[in-house]
């Protein structure tokens, strides 16, 4: 038998995904399309927030949706009804999207004139935090019924997101959710994160979120192409 030798590898397990993700971002920078990866637990309000955002912006921006929420035939019908371009990704029961799946979605949308693309990621706070989708911004939704301690249980997701939307604030008076406590936890995990408090049901706070979207699209269009 040959002698056993030790071979150093030191290679990132996700190096392939990182390459594809970077290619996607290059492509988005060239077409000046802001792609936002929307993540949350199932039922936090990803589809509801998409519908609100599309409603507010569809007359001024060209919007596309890459839909990957697993049990969402109904959801994708709702999205299709808004008239924006959309593709439904078959995730085959996957717990997250990676960059090559998103690439298929982007190819499927096939429209370089889009200003804004939302990815509705698979409903899950663990796995999507681990995989770079190639999006320009990572947004996460936390809804009031989930509780204010989620940053302690799922810190990775909160460090990855650039923007946090706290949804279902119409429930806040009947819950023990403390917004200060949440903000305290989040600020330790992520100093740069922007936080919005909204209700997709009553519409409260949606304007501020939509303003942020509008501003982000405009900033991205003006950013220099690298």
């Amino acid at each position: 038998m040959d002698e056993i030798k030790l071979i150093e590898i030191k290679e990132d397990i996700q190096s392939d995904n990182a390459v594809v993700a970077e290619e996607l971002r290059d492509r988005l920078r060239k077409s000046r399309t802001l792609m936002i990866n929307l993540m949350s637990s199932p039922g936090s309000g990803k589809t509801s927030l998409l519908l609100r955002s599309i409603e507010a912006l569809k007359n001024e921006l060209n919007i596309g949706v890459i839909e990957a929420d697993i049990d969402s035939v109904v959801d994708s019908e709702k999205i299709a009804e808004t008239g924006v371009r959309n593709v439904q990704l078959r995730t085959g029961g996957f717990c997250h999207l990676d960059a090559s799946m998103v690439k298929k979605g982007l190819d499927g949308l096939d429209d370089p004139a889009l200003d804004l693309i939302f990815i509705e990621n698979v409903g899950n706070l663990v796995c999507p935090a681990e995989f770079d989708t190639g999006a320009i911004q990572d947004a996460m939704i936390l809804s009031i019924p989930e509780g204010d301690d989620k940053p302690l249980k799922y810190p990775l997701m909160f460090t990855k997101a650039n923007v946090l939307i706290v949804n279902k604030i119409d429930y806040i008076t009947i819950s023990d959710f403390a917004m200060d406590r949440l903000r305290g936890y989040v600020s330790r995990l992520n100093t740069d994160i922007e936080i919005f408090e909204v209700s997709c049901k009553t519409g409260e706070g949606v304007d501020q979120w939509v303003d942020w979207l509008r501003q982000s699209v405009s900033d991205f269009k003006q950013s220099p192409v690298r």
Binding site: I7, I9, I13, Q14, P151, L152
Partner: protein, 117 residues
């Protein structure tokens, strides 16, 4: 969980390095994974055995080396090792600040080395 696609990546990388080093058989593989990531040891091995069946990595034993979560206080430079659920509640034990930390370790996700013959 996503152990299956992750294991696929691991196998591909291992086979690439095996070929590069002209080895006949891979005996063991060591992964370095930060404590911020969830990865089930048992499942990785299970999937690996299945996926590597007809390759020179068949039968290789996987070891996972866990890296602790270590943060640095940017106000005073103090570093501390903490548990995952402490991350959102941390206050610097030296200067008392609690709003400006960077992660020194805990996000590792790579293949460190392999033994082969």
């Amino acid at each position: 969980m996503h152990e299956l696609p992750v294991t696929e990546h691991i196998l591909n990388i291992v086979l690439k390095h095996a070929e590069r080093n002209r080895v006949q058989r891979v005996v063991s593989i060591t992964l370095t994974i930060g404590d911020l990531s969830e990865l089930e040891n048992e499942w990785i091995q299970h999937y690996f055995d299945y996926l590597s069946k007809d390759t020179i990595a068949a039968g290789a034993k996987l070891h996972i080396e866990r890296m602790p979560i270590v943060i640095r206080c940017n106000a005073c430079g103090q570093t501390e090792s903490i548990r995952k659920d402490q991350l959102g509640q941390i206050t610097c034990s030296k200067c008392g600040k609690s709003d400006d930390f960077s992660l020194v370790s805990g996000r590792e996700y790579y293949i460190k080395e392999m033994e082969a013959q």
